[in-house]
Amino acid sequence: MTPYRLSSGGLIDRSSPLSFSFDGQRLNGFVGDSLASALLANGRLLVGRSFKYHRPRGILTAGAAEPNALMTIGRDGRTEPNTRATMQELYQGLEAKSQNCWPSLDFDIGSVNGLLSPFLSAGFYYKTFMWPAGLWERFYEPVIRRAAGLGKATYQADPDGYEKIWAHCDLLVVGAGATGLAAALAAGRAGAKVILADEHSRAGGGLLSETAAVSGNSASDFLAQTLAELASLPNVTIMPRTTVFGWYDGNVFGAVERVQKHVEIPATHLPVERMWRIAAKQALLATGAEERPLVFGGNDIPGVMLAGAMRSYLNRYGVAPGRRVAIVTNNDSAYALAGDLEKAGIVPVAIIDGRADARIEGYTGKARMIRGGYVSDAHGGKALSSISIWQNGHTEKLDVDALAMSGGFSPIIHLACHRGGKPQWSDEKSAFMAPDGLNGLALAGACAGIDGLAACLEDGAAKGLALAAVLGFDGHAPTLPEISGDIVNAAPAAFKIIPGVRGKAFVDYQNDVHRKDLGLAVREGYGHVELAKRYTTSGMATDQGKLSNVNAIAILAEARGISPAQVGTTTFRPFYTPVSFGALTGVSHGKHFQPVRKSPLHDWAKKNGATFVETGLWYRSAWFQRSGETGWRESVDREVKNARINAGLCDVSMLGKIEITGKDAAEFLNRVYCNAFLKLPVGKARYGLMLREDGMIYDDGTTSRLEENRYFMTTTTAYAAGVMNHLEFCAQALWPDLDVRLASVTDQWAQMAIVGPKARTILERIVDADISNEAFPFLGAAEVSLFGGQVHGRLFRISFSGELAYELAVPASYGEAVADAFMEAGSAHGIQPYGVEALSVLRIEKGHVTHNEINGTVVPSDLGFGKMVSASKADFIGKRMLAREGLHSSERLQLVGVVPIDPATSFRSGSHILAKGAEATLENDQGYVTSSCYSPHVGSAIGLALVRRGPERHGEEVMIWNGLRGEFTPGRLVSPVFFDPTNEKLHI
């Protein structure tokens, strides 16, 4: 026989039928069903194939630990593999498919592995596929992976949305069973801000399956009443469908809310999953306990189920497990199931209790009792048909179609161990318990080893109240309800190796690890718990040993002749259950993958035909293609030539800009820069070099003195934030005695470089003031008005190109209009916009450095700035370390220009420099090319390089060697200034 739906009972809504499919077969269920309960109600025992041996598997649990009933739900982009049927709510149209079987679940070719099982024990792969070594990646691994595995992810894009959110509370209660509800209520009534999270679709935990009476009413009535009161408290938030998966520093918990995993077509305005970061002042785990399987032969045959799960299907979902049901247990808890089965008209054919002296208070059923006995083997293929009962050396066979087993309980303490705490074995509880001294986290109820509904309610209420009191919320101890009909474990179950076992006795269902595998691991020297885990794979995969770990440890302990405490456990780490990449990603994909930082001149550049390049988060215009131009180089060459002949306009808004004020601003700058700044006159700009403490150059840029105590510093784009942090550190930590104040104004100004021989002519039409060479010479800096006083900006006569050039900064929202005005004013003078590529060519031609050269290894003298370093200043950052002997060595790599001997040839940045005729070896390496480009001015490729004694070797022939590409280009070292070496153009 098979399981079936009872005609009445359960918390399902029988007036709301649902249809769904499993492996293409249409089936029916009800609102309130899980996929697992609906499958059972439809008589489906066989729901999956095992990982290695492809054994038929049925539903084992009713919760998060399910190792067998893993299915692929949905289709196309919504395909979700490895979904636990026990956790999946049923919805109209749900499509479920079995996994790891071919051609079908019923007839699976892979099950031949079961016949080969004598050869497939733990360690088989390691021992067998050792040679030839080359075959492992090409043959063995692909074949093994094909044969063994779980579900397959889809290659299609996920059409649904995910999001992340933060929450803050006084008390987070994890688990909304009796304990958690009592705790939340006690703390909530006291006024604490409480979040109550539960991984199941409905709050209630064990109360949803409980038949004991609470204050004379049903458990579900009590639950409804409690939830109603909690819902009425504005300071309490109940979060069902929310799995708290990790405990992190700062008492922050990670949780995933399954917002729309129970609907056929998710609403587009809602995420399907929402990841919560919950910052809790205190947290209480009320996560309950996991029932342990018993390790007997065939304990994985469909029809064998955990007793608590069977009770849940019976009472919550109205599903009977079969007609001939047996129960095997080593503790009292399973007798509650026996009583419930009898009430449903199914008298168990036997209760096999491993304890010879078992006497259960509260159970008065009619089932045959077999005390001091064990189920040694279950029999059947795709469905359970009988069991062998071992008692005092005798074996009896009994026909059954369902078997409930209970091997005791393991407190669910995973979260309590996520921050490094190790579980502690308790002989008294026969289980691993949470470590002591968890700061900000307490445990209550079954996860603290407490048994029975009354005790859990009492413990939950007491701990909820106590934690609220710690936070300053005083409440009153609640009046606890009276419980009747509850069966409480008189003593925890002790683990015993079951005698008389003949078949495979599975310890880890999901990884197909059976008892003999663990024995083999011990015999072969892998008895340490960490080694045994790797050798056998017990405790791995998606369930992370929730059901298997304690049994595995007990078997290892037995085999090694030590106690479970001495064996210890492996480490619990987040995540408690698998978390989708979607939830972890949230909205950070596609358009929202990372923020875009736009220049105020972005739209101006766009309408002028810019091609953009991502520079950090900035979108910079790289070049401006014109019709007829076929490649980027053509555009860049034109822009460069035009800037040197006529005029070019370039967006330099991305440069870091920092305003510095205060009485001691000059002194501050004098200490920050290695060159002198104290006497910079008002109205002047100066190039500055900023060193690190170790003497290496950190950043460069110009700083202008706008008023006596007001400076405007520019930094490189890449180091804008870093320099700001550096300056704040200097001001706050190094020299708090200086009156200096800093403000980042990068975004305030749209800044444009107007470059070229006609720059002044064009600029004169924009700026109101006299900007003749006499009135506004090179390195002038001033606040200016534009267009007859309509706009006020800042003008700097600085040049990064070697041309007559200015940079004009205007308030950002005026940027586009001013740039438009430049294009209009300059149209008669041949103005063209140019991008960062042309900017780079112009600066390489002029021998100006950027962070290509300022790469953390250079001191000022390496770049020809030795004379800039002040010898007279008492101190500046980097002064002491710059004096180190090695930084003055004549053998240092120093800046030099490089050109190919044959102008038709080229080379790449990153190429290395070899002396002419030297062999291409690391030992002969003399430096490397830092920047390179095609120079329209020179008519060939040019480069800047850091080369040993570079400045002394101008004119020397060398070999430019690209070892990665095998390219050799004969070249010559030259001056790094290819354009206007006497700087005449700067001063015209």
Binding site: S588, P595, W618, T661, V745, D747, H792, A812, S813, Y814
Partner: protein, 176 residues
Amino acid sequence: MSEFRVTLSPALGGRAAVSRKGISVEAQPEGTLLHLLVDPTMGDAVRLAADLMAAGLELRPLTTGQWFAVGDTALAHADLAALSATLKPQADIVDQSHGRVRIIVKGKMAARVLSKGTAVDLDIAVFPVGHATTTLFGHISAHVTRIGEDAFELIVLRGFAESLWDELAQMSLEFS
């Protein structure tokens, strides 16, 4: 080119307010936003407040010795210079009116929507009206001030304004 008429291109120009159930997101006009850098030995907010209120500006605490002063209308260049002179030597003004963009998020669900971006606890008991801090909304740094029981003002760098706007639109989608 005094005949040339300069026009403004606000960072969020053309963005209609996002209005959903219990939440709205609205870009403020690019009026005035001044960064006040106060001499720690001379100034405090109280002494500054009167002069700023006279100029139609409100104060937002930024960090030790620093405030933002915000207003919906732009101060003329001369008025800004005058205000700057008035506040000296107590405080230096750095004009950030174009460098920062103000976005108002308001409605019953405002705190919930913002909590999708920031780790700051926005519960009114912890973060009362007038309270402000700088935080990250997703990957974007912004300054947030509670300006009403259910209203927040975000101040963000101009370059990130569009991205933050898109994030807020996404974050509030739940209430459409």
